[in-house]
Subunit: 266 residues, 2 copies
Amino acid sequence: MRAITGVTRLYGIVADPIHQVKAPQGLNAILDERGIDGVLVPFHVSAADLATFFAALRVLRSFHGMIVTVPHKTAALPLCDAVSERAAQIGAVNVVRREPDGQLLGDMFDGLGFIAGLREAGLDPKGMRAYLVGAGGAGNAVAFALVEAGVAHLTVANRTRDRAEDLQRRLLKAHPGISVEIGSANPRGHGLVVNTTSLGMRETDPLPLDLGGLEPWMIVAESIMQPETTALLAGAAAAGCHVHRGWPMLASQLVLMADFLGMQRE
Amino acid sequence: MRAITGVTRLYGIVADPIHQVKAPQGLNAILDERGIDGVLVPFHVSAADLATFFAALRVLRSFHGMIVTVPHKTAALPLCDAVSERAAQIGAVNVVRREPDGQLLGDMFDGLGFIAGLREAGLDPKGMRAYLVGAGGAGNAVAFALVEAGVAHLTVANRTRDRAEDLQRRLLKAHPGISVEIGSANPRGHGLVVNTTSLGMRETDPLPLDLGGLEPWMIVAESIMQPETTALLAGAAAAGCHVHRGWPMLASQLVLMADFLGMQRE
């Protein structure tokens, strides 16, 4: 990494908790590789403080943008001055750019990143019956992306049923006639099972879904990167499923994020 | 520099303009040398936005503290939750630490740094007639430090005379009986001449004082670090004066700042 000076551009990742984030390593490597005088640092901010923090980003002139992750993806959307059509449809952002006039622009690459990560691993969701747990920012993004990637059916499960129903409504509005239903904690009968909740980050977390529903022919995909093997993935491997870790979802969108954040080769 | 991760501590320097600051290089070198997982980055914030920015620092839990420099040193003091007795007396802070509960604590090391820098260059202000231009944050700190270092007399000059008079009043209150007067832009008759204004940072700036008053027996000291040779120092050298650059004032307080900011060896 090059030395930081008074003209170094500031980038960040906002999250809570923060210790597990992997984007600093990934994006600082891209900054290095592209020869850009910038640095990406961790911003640890609680949900209740997000609006206060966003107000400061508008006036922080050396700040160029940041990644937004758990639990802020949905709450960050209305704090932006403008968002992409994709982010508006999903109802969440995972990246925010600061324009020279202080305006904050949001976009959402989680869905594209998840699908690209699956495909790079040789897994194509097209025609599959998919089960998704979690209807937060990442869950919404992955749901829209799965539908756009051509899954035959999508089941959405969420602790708060209202949010799953709201996601179902918006999916049907954008894609009339698709097969989408609300599910239980049991993923039985689905070839692709995806966790987009944060359950599994902490050792004390309950499982995000019922492992009893897993069978050896299923693919179980995670969006959590740290720990690399969550309790869900360990249980899925024990059940003979094919496991797909969380890292590819981020890795596949790092270049999209870098480009959106203005990290163009100099 | 070590790789930045989710647990890297965030430090900053807040200034406007920002391009000329040298603290990132100095303090990141100390972080490296002490083996601390932290990084210091530039925060470019305008004077009008400082309070908005401070509100966010309280809620930014990965933030551990920052250097405060031109033009924010005086304005930052009332934005802190508590300040040192020294900072309160001077009426300015140049370093702010964030406590784990979000409280922001201020201190001021410019005076100590300036005197230490002079002494390391073999120059002792004790017994000298000193002329100081500028009654901002750095000016106040250097004025108190010169008096405490035992100058025989201090003349204070400032574009806004009120601020010089206010500094004079506070100096006399803290140190009754000292010789301190308000001066003009002409430093004649003083063995030590010190610029603490920001005039000289930009090429288009007017001179901070009247070069016609300089004579070869004088020492002319700068607090501006970039450019290394300001128009004042160039004029002083041409007049045969001994010149003392701005860098030692910061260099001599970097360790004090690092210790205050909690950058203890791990």
